[in-house]
Symmetry: C2
Subunit: 418 residues, 2 copies
């Protein structure tokens, strides 16, 4: 079963926003056994939308459209869909009530363009959008399904989870899809591929292996489709065993979850606590950790110690250490990590101090030099990295390296068992 | 002049990664006077890539391709391009040297699949990729230009900035494009549109107004194209004046920059310092601030005080306050903000404490309840918000609200003048 995603709106084409919707939708569709053939972003232009719809219908059975349903003038998606399907308009009373209730809840004045949000092509099935004013519209077109959703991410996500995916599963016979992800770190993509080439060559046609590299990690993803789900799962698992045995030292976890979630799960199970002491990562590690619900059972908090003063006052780094070795040094980062363990009273702490750039580099310590330490109450260890001269990349790679160091330390300390 | 962007690779279509490249490229192209007609993501499939290339060439003059150039087996972009242009292959010596030097620098073993990265279609112009092993390939095809770049963001960005954009500007006659952005907050898109409808109606055909809403903010973007750049700029500026005068109270700044950058610029100019005290935002505000180079002149750092204990120990929140009013309360958040000003010795501090969810809500304080305070040495003020029941959205909207409150406070304190 093939689907296509079409996003409508100039904001993606002028680079004002990043299209995060399509990746999320693609992931959910894949998990449901629906392959995404193409993702297309087109402008708020009638002829262009009509062409994109026609081409998508030639390639796929399911077309999911997001965006172009807001109240301002440049939104012509709804008009274009009515034209494409040769339909007139009707005002949908349930949608109108929803629009009114939202304006009432936020105590905002309601104007004519808001009322028009309740107008829909008369041959579509309206699916109520509980989180916003733009309705979701489902069109049955011969054997094909075309759905138009609002572009606001959480409105789209709720509609997909609660309405669209269940309805698609009911409308189409979908194959069983089984995925298995192996997360590796500290190994390059091509070297990894060479290590497991012979295993990959023995995979049957219905099982694929994908290499998904990102920031010092490579995810290996085995995906299979078939009729007998449990047999397929067993077969994929046996290939996963072969791969894991071959590259064991690089395997972080056999699951498709974020590094910080691995840490939270392991530490939660062991009743351990964590804190952070961040300089150049500026709170990014704490942010990654705190995106996960329930993190407060493990994560006590931390310091974003950007200035020398805060490194001393919150973390207890010695003034002498900073003066002698500088903020970006093994000595300082170790005192930061140990200071966090002590001051924040946690079992483990991670500390990062580096030169994110673009300024602040020296011949000795060029931009991209990053010291990372992991401490427990009885032991602190540090490593130095160089991540090059791009600020954002330095922050991201430092965070990934720090999380990987915590995982390695938890493994060393035998915290993964049990 | 029209361009299209094609991304190649299953990782976008299975939702493994978000396509951030295309938005960045689209923004740069627009600034250079090149309009992006369509962005298309296709799989690692020869027939599909060939079709996408053909269709793109029918619509646009410039086709920029990213992705599908890595060393592992599923990368067939280069082979497909050679087929599309009916070319053979040659090994590019300069690229081979670059590949070798990168493997040498990272001290990694080099294997045959890495050598193959230096093979290119024999009719293309090779542009050296200084940051990676995959070469950038430029094809002149009649009056059209097709460029293939690696998908690694910083490799692509460097190539675009240093090579592709300058070469495109030399190869094509591009119009002058002038943009002007007005950032508003605390006003809905449709209400804003109604307020300035009559101004919008008077815009000439060559000046467009776009509404770009995101997380409690709406950016108004005037874009014009024409031959006389300075006349166009003056005309756009005069329309901007009309709009700003009409909705003055909602205007944050007349520029297309992030809220935290507004804060950094104003505080830097005034020699002021800032710290943060974050609970539910978990370091996200500090992260946003520290993505900007030079932020250390303003930002001292802060606390991610997730636990009660850290709120007391780092920020000096009274145990009694926490016990009486709870962590998510006006009293606590004010003590957090004042505590940050005092303990971190900064001119201003912002504090956030809320229930990000999905758990932790009560009838009195449902999930999404967020208190935010801004303090200076002599004054602290707090506001309560409710951002609904989505964790990530709560974190993001809390951060945006906190940054907006800092800006409003800096305006009240007359820090924007001069």
């Amino acid at each position: 079963m093939l689907a296509e995603i079409i996003t409508i709106g100039d904001e993606i084409l002028i680079g004002q926003i990043v299209d995060t919707n399509s990746a999320w939708m693609a992931k959910q569709l894949n998990l449901a056994g629906i392959k995404v053939k193409q993702i297309t972003s087109v402008s708020d232009d009638e002829a262009h939308i009509l062409e994109a719809l026609k081409l998508a219908e030639e390639r796929a059975e399911i077309i999911l459209i997001t965006g172009g349903l807001g109240p301002t003038k440049d939104d012509i998606t709804k008009l274009t869909l009515a034209k494409y399907f040769n339909m007139g308009f009707r005002r949908d009373e349930e949608t109108l009530e929803q629009v009114k209730s939202i304006f009432k809840r936020f105590n905002r004045p309601m104007i004519e363009s808001n009322m028009k949000q309740a107008d829909v092509p008369d041959g579509c099935i309206v699916i109520q959008n509980k989180n916003g004013t733009a309705p979701c519209m489902w069109f049955n077109h011969g054997s094909k399904v075309i759905v138009s959703m609002p572009g606001v991410p959480y409105e789209m996500m709720y509609l997909m989870d609660e309405e669209i995916l269940p309805r698609l599963k009911a409308a189409f016979v979908l194959p069983n899809i089984v995925h298995k992800t192996i997360l590796t770190a500290n190994i390059g993509e091509s070297f990894l591929a060479q290590q497991i080439e012979d295993i990959e060559d023995t995979l049957p046609a219905y099982i694929k292996l994908a290499y998904l590299p990102r920031l010092g990690q490579v995810r290996l993803r085995l995906s299979g489709s078939g009729e007998d789900e449990s047999a397929l799962r067993a077969e994929i698992e046996s290939y996963a065993r072969l791969i894991v045995d071959r590259v064991k030292t690089y395997v972080v976890i056999e699951d498709d979850i974020a590094l910080e979630k691995v840490i939270l799960d392991v530490m939660m199970a062991q009743g351990l606590t964590l804190s952070t002491a961040e300089s150049c990562t500026g709170g990014y590690i704490a942010h990654l950790i705190t995106t996960h619900p329930g993190c407060s059972a493990v994560f006590a908090g931390g310091a974003v110690a950007y200035s020398y003063e805060l490194k001393e006052s919150i973390l207890g780094v010695q003034q002498e250490t900073l003066a002698t070795y500088g903020a970006v040094s093994e000595e300082t980062v170790k005192e930061m990590a140990s200071g966090a363990v002590g001051h924040f009273n946690t079992d483990y702490a991670v500390a990062v101090s580096g030169i994110a750039g673009p300024d602040g580099g020296t011949p000795d310590k060029p931009v991209g030099t990053v010291w990372i330490a992991v401490a427990s109450k009885d032991r602190v260890e540090a490593k130095v990295f160089n991540f090059g001269n791009k600020r954002i990349q330095n922050i991201e790679r430092s965070a990934i390296a720090a999380l990987t160091m915590i995982i390695n330390r938890l493994k060393e300390d035998d915290r993964f068992s049990g």
